[in-house]
Symmetry: C2
Subunit: 161 residues, 2 copies
């Protein structure tokens, strides 16, 4: 079973894939999709869409996880983040891959053990939990953290059933 973690943003969307085998996690791949702020937004969205389709066709994830949105005070930033988020969530949906949303502090709690953790702590724990993994940047590290959180909560949910 493979999990795709996604960290959407118009300028740099992070993605990360982990594999789960007999309740153990293994690093598969990670990356980020940078788009040029000078390009029309429509073209930037098309780049995000096409790259995520490639990631899905290459690694065949079964489930996807995404952070619940960070609501910005600036409505223009919020709408831009919304646009990227819509296109990012669309990719797994088109492949019938279920997407689960998690609150940011739930993701940190799952990865670091506490809800309020610095970015660096998250990255350190991602490296410890996924031996051999050197996240490409902060965005892909966050995306891997989402995949790890999904693995944890998914297990908890399964236990409850």
């Amino acid at each position: 079973m493979r999990i795709l973690g996604l960290d959407p943003s118009l300028s740099s969307t992070g993605w990360g894939i982990i594999e789960v085998e007999s309740n153990k996690m293994k690093y598969v791949a990670d990356g980020f999709i940078k788009t040029d702020p000078k390009m029309p937004i429509a073209d930037r969205l098309a780049i995000i869409h096409r790259t995520l389709n490639e990631v899905i066709e290459t690694y065949h994830p079964d489930e996807a996880a995404i952070e619940q949105v960070f609501l910005n005070d600036n409505p223009t930033s919020t709408i831009k983040l919304g646009m990227a988020r819509g296109v990012v969530i669309l990719a797994p949906a088109l492949y019938a891959i279920p997407v689960t949303e998690y609150e940011p502090n739930k993701i940190k709690k799952a990865v670091v053990g506490v809800g309020k953790a610095a970015k660096e702590q998250v990255e350190t724990m991602v490296k410890i939990l996924l031996p051999g993994c050197k996240p490409k940047n902060n965005d892909s590290s966050d995306a891997l953290a989402m995949a790890i959180a999904h693995f944890n909560y998914r297990g908890a949910r399964n236990l409850k059933m």
Copy 2:
């Protein structure tokens, strides 16, 4: 030359197509994409994406026009609108159809003659400017208004060049 007007929203995205021949406008088609609020957002976005792809493959528009976003005071509404908007703008981008954004009052000015016009006035003028057209609902009427506005400003822009 065909113009696609788009009025994005997660619950009901309007679309409308007009044809331009020797500087005259003709109605081609219009419609709206309703999605069930009880469905996961990812699936609603996939419906919008697939339907717009079908519209583009059926009517082969050359250019697209969209309203500049209405910024809501409610960040949750803004992010939802942003998600729909991202997926709506993506569709023409994937077919290399250029998308132009217009401010709401510019669209009203182009269609009704004044920047502050009621929805009903817009619909009445859409019917007058596109003889034989009976817009399916308010959303598709707004989308047709965007296509009309694009026709007008496009002409003005061309004259300036």
